[in-house]
Point group: C2
Chain length 243, copies 2
């Protein structure tokens, strides 16, 4: 009987992976994932069987994992960041349910998600309660995204935005900022982290009013501070409490 | 000139640490931290200078880091989980500001926080937008915690609760559940992860109505699903979207 690991690879560099993730990958017979992540692993593990599928082939990828595991192989399904945060873990468990497979062992291996790796790059924006919201409306109605942004502002949460823009959603970050500006001051400290852990990594701070003009893309993670957040020496810092 | 790393050690086991965190620690002359975390490192690095301080000595710990770094040493200030999420990173940057120290290099090294490691243990609760809220009112007024819980429920977020209880706050999780039950159905799927990555690690799922009766302590992380979350084969799963 094989086994499936759903592995969060962290931000990009090998240094950002946990030892546990490395062990799962090196102990697997087959690595399955989106082309970009598999390419990162090809150099390191030239001997391993690799199966790549393109974007939007996620369900197919999970089915392949089950097929391989049932044939007795140990499989790693690799994701960037964490395995669970908008990752493949939930889909993998749903596909196993749909195929009425209660036998194949599926282990989730956590990884450093962009809220944490981007936060470290910017300073310490997550020193207090925070929300993570994706602006992608591929699987989520835009009305729900708006409701979540408003709730996050009402709760004085630090807000971390994933998937702020893409080619087909060029103005989504601007739309999100407009919604937040109904409730939050224009001077609220914000930050952006781009291509975290990869070539061309960069980060910077700005105000909420300046945020829509920043060059965010699908490899950018956006941080909006809470009422206590400050810029200290060029870094975005949210104190741990209100003293 | 020395340097300070603020290092997130992950959930507990060495396997949960990133390679980057291990490199920072092994490259440091001095390790500084809360007694419990330093004890974990003592066996592995018997040759290193270690400075421990007790609970609530956090500011003092940061001052010691600056002192050591200014004397030319490389210092790792170690935290469990992530360095930034309710961690020491923000306090370290604030203490450096207070001492008007703009020279000492401070690098934040991210780690796997309990929302991620506990999520992996439970299944895939963080497949969609989520909030992280601490119930500790040591540094946060209880009214703000209540406001955040209500906002999280209004936004249909998955909610991750840190510090659900302690000896002096034995009924806080119950109080939080009462607030959430004003807005959420009693059957809402929930999960608990205890002593993640340590001896006695355990996890389990229940409903929101059952949650207050569960034996949560200060080493427990609590998960409350969103409207789409389900229990699949004993695991808490939040689908990535609404199809």
């Amino acid at each position: 009987m094989g086994k499936i690991y759903v592995v969060g690879m962290g931000p990009g560099r090998e240094e950002g992976m946990t030892l546990e993730a490395m062990q799962a990958i090196s102990g697997s017979d087959v690595l399955i994932g989106y082309t970009v992540y598999i390419d990162l692993l090809k150099e390191r593990y030239p001997e391993k069987e690799m199966i790549t599928t393109g974007m939007k082939q996620e369900t197919e990828r999970c089915r392949m994992c089950l097929l391989q595991a049932r044939s007795g192989k140990t499989v790693s399904l690799v994701c960037s960041g964490d395995a669970g945060v908008y990752g493949m873990a939930s889909l993998m468990l749903e596909v196993a349910e749909k195929e009425e497979d209660r036998e194949t062992e599926i282990e989730i291996v956590a990884g450093v998600t962009a809220a944490l790796s981007g936060g470290a790059l910017l300073g310490a924006p997550l020193g207090h309660d925070f929300c993570v919201v994706s602006l992608s409306d591929l699987l989520t109605p835009w009305e729900l995204i708006v409701r979540r942004l408003r709730a996050a502002a009402d709760g004085d949460y630090v807000i971390v935005i994933y998937n702020p823009c893409s080619r087909s959603r060029a103005d989504y970050l601007k739309k999100a900022c407009d919604i937040l500006l109904e409730k939050l001051p224009s001077g609220r400290p914000c930050g952006l982290a781009k291509r975290i852990g990869r070539e061309g990594e960069e980060s910077g701070v700005c105000t909420l009013a300046e945020l829509p003009e920043k060059d965010a893309d699908m490899f950018t993670t956006v941080f909006i501070g809470n009422s206590g957040s400050r810029i200290i020496n060029g870094r975005l810092v949210t104190p741990r409490g209100y003293r």
